[in-house]
């Protein structure tokens, strides 16, 4: 990372001042949230699916080494090659090496957050290899030299007029309206040539199956199919936590992911390939397994569940903080509630101290998470770590008496049970009454806990919590 990135409160203040961004974010998160609720409600066994999803992930993480070794064996048996990368640099070196080995100077790439995490495009560019992003949104962002704001709809902060401008400037078109259909057509024509000529395709992986060596890409536009089918060489990069034990496990995750993610019964395209197949698709396949901090997350028994994440982005869309600030405020490839717990654990708590505070702890993220990650619990746990880290930095009598540390320890207990958590929220509302009378609580008196509220930078606890509102809104269902 180059230079210290601005903290969450600083960037959030900038983001909140940008009205266009706020309007787009609000609209986007609301729309996807409503769609999701509809298709989730359709399934009578949603809770059972979530529970199995969680249990599979937990079992994988407890025996991650065994599953990875099995995966390596299966992929190799099916004609693929497996590479192991301890960190971003190593993964980038491996991928660049394969690309250069084929004398290619261009790769066709399907969106992968993991590749953003290791800054693959920059690393390739430094070695004279151009990565062509083929998702519509990624293309928009890449052409504009911008950054993603949402990992499902990364260009959601751009409206159609802005996209038209970007295309007119960078694509070979003379006339273009701002009709989404026309904009998509322009991108289709521009990229079709690239697909036909690319010699190396690069993808991420939503899942990989230890039993069979199969790897999956879940997508909408068809560029995932293109990248994983047309170029003669395919390289897929995946975090080590993405492995699933059996092919049967897909029946759970292929129900959980699309409904949680785009709010569709099923996304348009899911590609599953198993090594190489004669006469069909790439004849050379490389799977790069990336650690890059994941084993450090694994070590923390409370933080470990963070690795359950299937990157559906449901928690982003329900988060009252995220839906106002957007993704850029987090200064992290993983935004929203998941980013607030994953990033500090991946990069180390000292490098992302403010992120665990980018939340109101309202619990909405936990309720929608298809793999039941208790995000508030992990957040509180991490805040405790931030505090302890600060204490270690300036150890003295004041730090040791830090009321925030004591408060966090108490909150960690509260979050471990939903009943206790709800009780505490109701109590907190009563307790804050004298402070909240004039609207948002900006600072607590006395300075003891004021650091916390300054960073929290948020309004008073609402009269009804998001959870309570949600439960009422949806009638008898506790989880939507």
């Amino acid at each position: 990372m180059s230079g210290p990135s601005p903290s969450f409160p600083e960037s959030a203040r900038v983001a909140l001042a940008n009205t266009q961004l706020r309007r787009n974010m609000g609209y986007a998160t609301q729309t996807i949230r409503a769609k999701r609720a509809l298709v989730v409600d359709e399934l009578p066994d949603w809770e059972e699916l979530r529970e199995t999803g969680r249990a599979i992930k937990e079992s994988v993480l407890r025996h991650l080494d065994e599953h990875l070794e099995a995966l390596e064996q299966s992929v190799t048996r099916a004609g693929g090659q497996v590479h192991w990368a301890r960190d971003a640099d190593e993964a980038n070196r491996i991928i660049a090496g394969i690309v250069s080995g084929h004398g290619a100077t261009e790769i066709a790439k399907v969106k992968s957050i993991t590749s953003d995490e290791i800054k693959l495009n920059e690393a390739l560019a430094a070695r004279g290899i151009e990565a062509i992003e083929t998702d519509l949104a990624e293309l928009i962002i890449q052409l504009d030299g911008d950054e993603s704001s949402h990992f499902l709809v990364p260009a959601i902060h751009r409206n159609r007029a802005e996209i038209r401008e970007i295309f007119l400037e960078h694509l070979d078109v003379d006339e273009l309206s701002d009709d989404p259909r026309e904009l998509a057509e322009a991108a289709r024509l521009h990229l079709r040539e690239k697909f036909l000529s690319a010699r190396v395709g690069v993808s991420g992986a939503n899942f990989a199956i230890a039993e069979t060596g199969s790897v999956l890409v879940v997508e909408s536009e068809g560029n995932g199919r293109m990248c994983t089918t047309l170029p003669p060489v395919l390289i897929s990069l995946m975090g080590i936590e993405k492995v699933l034990p059996t092919f049967q496990d897909l029946e759970v995750f292929l129900q959980l992911l699309p409904r949680s993610s785009t709010g569709e019964r099923m996304n348009p395209y899911t590609s599953v390939w198993t090594g190489t197949s004669e006469g069909d698709g790439p004849q050379e396949f490389h799977l790069v397994l990336l650690d890059n901090g994941r084993t450090a997350v694994l070590r923390d028994e409370i933080g470990r569940q963070t690795l359950n994440c299937i990157r559906c982005s449901a928690c982003l869309n329900v988060c009252p903080v995220y839906s106002r600030t957007g993704g850029h405020a987090y200064n992290s490839v993983y935004p929203g509630p998941i980013g607030a717990i994953l990033t500090p654990q991946l990069v180390g708590i000292h490098a992302a101290e403010s992120l665990p505070y980018a939340s109101t702890l309202c619990g909405a993220c936990y309720e929608v998470c298809p793999v039941k990650i208790n995000i508030p619990e992990v957040l509180v746990h991490l805040r405790g770590k931030v505090v302890r880290h600060k204490q270690a930095e300036h150890s003295g009598w004041r730090a040791r008496l830090d009321p925030e540390a004591a408060a966090m320890a108490a909150m960690a207990r509260v979050f471990s049970s939903r009943a206790r958590y709800e009780r505490a929220q109701r109590l907190a509302r009563l307790g804050q009454a004298p402070l909240a009378r004039r609207g948002p609580i900006s600072h607590l008196p006395g300075g003891l806990m004021s650091g916390w509220t300054a960073m929290r930078d948020l309004k008073a606890l609402p009269q009804r919590t998001f959870r309570e509102w949600w439960v009422e809104r949806d009638g008898s269902r506790a989880d939507a």
Binding site: H83, T262, M266, S277, D280
Partner: protein, 224 residues
Amino acid sequence: MSSAREEILGRIHAATRDVPESEKADDVAVTRSYRQRHEASRDELVELFAERVADYRATVHHVRRASVADVVAEVCEARGATRMVAPADLPTEWRPSDGVEVIADENLSHEQLDGIDGVITGCAVGIAETGTIVLDGGPRQGRRAISLLPDYHLCLVEADQVVGGMPEAVSVLVDGVRSAGRPVTFISGPSATSDIELDRVEGVHGPRTLEVLIVGADPRTTAS
């Protein structure tokens, strides 16, 4: 210097020290109390499948076995498709009766495929609950590129290939993956994006038109 592989495996081992040595991967019980089967009649499943496929703005027709060739010819004509690629083993009864040239895929180049109007394939299984068709390179499906590059995909689904939900589909597919490493593609509607202000737009890269013929379905709703 230990290799990356050894080092990562070592880190994992150290990180999961709380897991008892005696516990093996298979020991961790995973309960699967979600629905494994849909209790519905064949007709109901086919009906639901047709409805759900249509929800993605794909076109669906019910076709009697005897009239497949005519309907294929009709729908191609309606799309203005005169040259269609098909896997070499596409049954004769599925080939358009007239007016359409069917090109067998004998290792056509990607450029050639790109220049063809459309593709006719069968499928491995259809999923009613999600309106999904699944291709696995088995009989009547051909390799992946042929159903990807042409802009129009005409897919024929036998009524008895339709199953209720994802678990049933996975059990149809699993043997082909285990024994032959078959590549599997789940297709739910035409290619789409919602990247521009969340407006769903058909077709960025994959086929922009998906048309599904359900063969041997309820004769009361024959053809369109």
